[in-house]
């Protein structure tokens, strides 16, 4: 068997790739990793700081709210009804010695009209939102995720959203393979 000149001088590996090619490939791999990291940093610089969002669902629809405004997430306890209150007011709840007003997010969003019974509230969650000196708990069906997204990933409110409801949203985000309406805490807290 006759060796080639490259094999003789040790420039070809047994697999047929020269050490030089291997080194070049290694360099290219490193360069590509570096470029990807640089690209991510640059994209983040361009898109502004990331936003942490609490993602939850009400019925079949998904919504999100900036975590900055979320004070806590609770399970519903005994809720005292209030006569003469607006339909979206579910009542008052004792929240560790503080009186919390609990609102029905379905009613605010116009996706539900019937008054929920105490039994129907079981298994749901109350997301306590604070903004502009006001605080309220919003009843939601399920808490889905905490997502960290660049500010640039907030898209305008979908055209399909009813104009009367559009003021309740800051925009639309895509997370967990779903579109979620990014709620405006100010609009949700103010009637």
């Amino acid at each position: 068997m006759v060796n080639t000149i490259f094999e003789v001088i040790g420039m070809v590996s047994p697999g047929g790739i020269s050490p030089l090619d291997e080194a070049r490939e290694e360099l290219l791999r490193e360069a590509s990793i570096e470029a990807e990291a640089f690209g991510r940093e640059k994209a983040q610089e361009e898109s502004g700081p990331a936003r942490s969002l609490l993602v939850f669902s009400v019925g079949a629809e998904w919504y999100a709210v900036d975590l900055v405004h979320v004070r806590k997430v609770l399970r519903p306890a005994r809720i005292a009804r209030v006569s003469g209150a607006a339909p979206e007011v579910l009542g008052l709840m004792n929240c560790q010695g503080e009186v919390l007003c609990v609102l029905d997010l379905r009613r605010i969003l116009g996706t539900g009209k019937e008054k929920l019974s105490t039994a129907e509230m079981e298994g749901k969650f109350i997301v306590v939102i604070q903004h502009g000196g006001k605080e309220a708990g919003f009843l939601v069906d399920a808490v889905r995720d905490v997502a960290e997204l660049p500010a640039s990933s907030v898209h305008p409110v979908l055209d399909s959203v009813d104009p009367s409801r559009a003021r309740l949203f800051e925009g639309t985000v895509a997370c967990c393979g779903q579109f979620a309406g990014l709620l405006s805490p100010s609009a949700c807290l103010n009637p």
């Binding site: 005292a80 209030v82 006569s83 007011v89 008052l92 009186v99 006001k134």
Partner: protein, 97 residues
């Protein structure tokens, strides 16, 4: 009535428990022909008014530490008479009018 507390007449209006300052209550009348219907006449201290309720539950003394302000979010969403505070006790929650 002691300093830092209030005696309340507690009534059930059918949806919520309401508390009225006992000192303001003129009298409680049973509405004829309506079982479980009562009329609470108020105005000994303030302006005269009357409140219909389903049941009169009795009186309760609330100390200052059991009284909380009405959440602004609720205050903005109540039509008609607005409560001035919320009574928060181990026994329950009362809207104070």
């Amino acid at each position: 009535m002691t300093t830092g507390s209030v005696d309340l007449l507690v009534v059930d209006d059918g949806a919520a428990l309401r508390g009225y300052d006992c000192r303001d209550v003129v009298r409680v009348e049973e509405v004829a022909g309506e079982p479980g219907g009562y009329l609470v006449r108020l105005g000994r201290l303030g302006s005269p008014r009357e409140v219909a309720c389903r049941e009169v539950l009795g009186s309760v003394a609330l100390s200052a530490r059991e009284i909380r302000p009405v959440p602004e979010v609720l205050r903005e969403r109540i039509t008609g008479e607005k409560p001035w505070a919320v009574g928060l006790t181990e026994r329950g929650m009362y809207l104070l009018y």
